[in-house]
Every structure is written in structure tokens, then in C-alpha cells.
Amino acid sequence: MLEARNVRLWYGDFNALKGVSMKIQPRSITAIIGPSGCGKSTMLRCFNRMNDLVEGCRVEGEVLFEGRNIYDHYDLTELRKRVGMVFQRPNPFPLSVQENVGYGPRIHGLASGDGLRAAVKKALQATQLWNDVGDRLTAPALSLSAEQQQRLCISRLLAVAPDILLMDEPCSALDPMATQNIEELMLELKRDYTIVIVTHNMQQAARVSDFTGFMLLGELVEFGETQTIFTAPTDKRTEEYITGRYG
């Protein structure tokens, strides 16, 4: 469904990715872990070309989505609708709950009127936010708690019916209970969506993901089933990192 093939990326002269290849399995959670600056967020952003926004960024290699290279004449609006991203800090628009979630379907012309209201409700139900905010849809999104805001951002993505959710440290601004709730949500969502998550939290990667890739200095050192990576990694560098001996 989604595959990186020998992806190399430069920010100006700096070579941030040095030939990364990985296959993302559908309806699964793939975690990318590694120390700061290893290129994991850069790799994640390659999956929906968010790096295009960075000045001086140059990408080589291929990222195939349903067999098509997204770096070769791919409609970016369509790409980002189908491959959505959740960021480290919740970033709701300074609008109401309903306007946030309805924004995508409305600008993509996917729904209006009752259809739009139904789409908003469905997206809020999918993130289990409906029970909390269903009776105050006109409230400012920024008045919600941090966890609710992150759920809202995920609802906003789901409202445009994506296939893939990219999550860049989605819990790093949340407390442990909110983190647990978002992790539970991820496990629910993987029934219908393919999720790629970047996390600094190795326990989180171990808890939620089916596959894990360990990156170091712009290279993918090891990729495999999470239960194998965290119990019997094959590469010494992975072993050192996950046991805290790295550095």
C-alpha cells in the first residue's frame, strides 16, 4: 500500500536520509524510532510530501502509494487528503469543534448540510469524542483539553476519509492518562486505517505498533515485527539503543 524505496533527502547540503526503504503494511501500526536527528520525522513527512514545504529540500528515490510514485506528478491535495498527518502539538483551527471537523469535507466538496453534520458526527464518534463534545459542537475547539484537541485533530483527518494516518509524536504533549487514551484510540483505528507513528517513547512503540523501524543517522538500521525488534533485535546498534546503552 505504502512503500519507500531508496529514499534520499537533503536539506541544502545536509544529507538527512541516506537510502531508506520500508514497506508499510495495510491496517497495521508501524512505529519509527531512533534518537533525535536520526531522520525519523523527515521520513514520516516524506510519506505525504510535507518536506516539500521546507526550503532547500531535495528528495530522490520513490515513495509508492498504491503503486504510484507520489514524487512523480501526484496531485498534492489528493495525496494529503488520503495520507493525513497528526502533529506533536494539537493544532485545531481557531474555529468551533464542528467547523474544525467539517472543514475538510466542506473544502473538498465531499458533503454539505445534513451530510456534513453526519460526517462530523461519524468522525467524532470514531475518536470517541462525540460523547464529550456532541452537545457543544459550536464551542471553540481551543477550549477543549489537550487530549480532546488531539482527538479533534484526528477526527478532522478522518472526516475526509483518508487511508493512512501519519502521527508525529502524537502524545508528547499529553499526560500519561491522555497518552493511554490516544494509544487505545490508535489500536481501534488500525482496524480501518493504516498508521505510521514516529515516537521517542520506546515503550509506546512496543505497546501499540505491529512493526518497528529503527533509524540512526539517516539510515534505517533495522525493520521488523515489533515483538522481535524489542526482544531479539539483530543489529547491535538497535540493541544498544533500545536497552539505553546508545550514546
Binding site: F230, A232, T243
Partner: protein, 229 residues
Amino acid sequence: MKRHFDEDLAQLKERLLRMGGSVERMIHLSAKDLFARTEADRAELEKLEREVNDLQIVIDDRALKLIALRQPMATDLRFLFMASRISSDLERIADQAINIIETTHHLIAGGPPLVPLVDLPLMAEICQEMLREALDGFVRQDASMARKVLEMDDKVDACKRRIFDEMLAMMESDQKTIRRGLCIVLISRNLERIGDHATNIAEEVIYMVEARDVRHHHGEGAAPGAPAE
């Protein structure tokens, strides 16, 4: 980078080795009494057994707490999981040593030696070597030493079968030998169990070092990980 966690692991390892040393001493004492036909030094044995039992509880408790508090991964996780298993095997070996001493008491009380013992001393020697090699493999993190233990277990099993056949034939021909014959069969059974537990420890060392589960298929060198669920 030096980790504080390494000190916790080293302390646990030291306790396991202390436990291993006590168990080795218990086997040595039981074998000495068996072959010299002497009564055991009960006080020393009871002290060793208490120490082994206490260490098993301490090791299990420490391993569990370190798993909960440190959330270890990879080699650290395998070490803690195996430390608990190894301590359990050591404790059972200690029980077998006690059984040997008790049966030796009945054997001596049953009368003079039936026959010169050949296979039983050999078994005891191999079992002690198995445990020593398994624990050395643990200390040195050396799976090849542990693999040697797996091979030795076949010799122990062969000794036990020969002893059983020999004692059975003797008891069938002369009822007066039954008590002592049964004692020897029981002791050979205890030694065989010691060999099995030493084998378990060796398998646990191999898993700890190589993440390779060799249980039930020693020769096959199974790939890391368990069979598919």
C-alpha cells in the same frame, strides 16, 4: 554509557551465581555420602537448602520488580526472564540433592553394597559437570559452553537406563535386593532429573545469549522467536 541499571543486573547475576555455588555444593555432598556410604552433615545441608530457597524468592522478586520499574528490552529483558527460570531450576536441583541424601540413608540401612557401582558415579560426575558448564556458560555469556551440556544429557539418560535394567534383573533374581535396588533406581532417577534441570539452564543460557529457543529441538538450531500462535 554506564547505566545504573547495569548495577542492578550485576547484583542479580551475583545472587544467581551464589545460588548456583550452593547447589553445586549440595550435589557434591550428596554424591560424596552416596559413594563413601557415610551419613550426611545435616546441619550444613539444611543451611544450604535454606539459602537456596531464600535466594530463589529474592531473585524472582528482584527480577519482577526490575521488569516493572525499568521496562527492559532485548538482552536485558531476556536476562531477567531467564534469571527467574534459572533460579527455579537451581532450586529443584537442590531438592533432588536432598532426595539423594535421604535415599542414601535408606540404602545404607538396607545392608552391604549390592554390586560395585559403576554407572551411578559416572552419572553423578556428568551431572556435576553439566551444572558447572551451564553456570560457566551463564557467567561468560557463552552459548557454545551451554550447547555442550545438551549433548551430555544423552549420556546421563543412557546411564539411567542401564542402571534400571541391571537393578531390575537383580531384584527379579533375589528378593532380598529389592530395598537396596529400589534405592539405587530412585537415586538414578534423582540424578537424571538433575541432568534435566542442568539442561534447562543451558537452554536458558542459549536463549539469553542468542535469543534462540532450542527447547525440544536441540539439534535444529531453531530461529529466534516462538512458533506462530
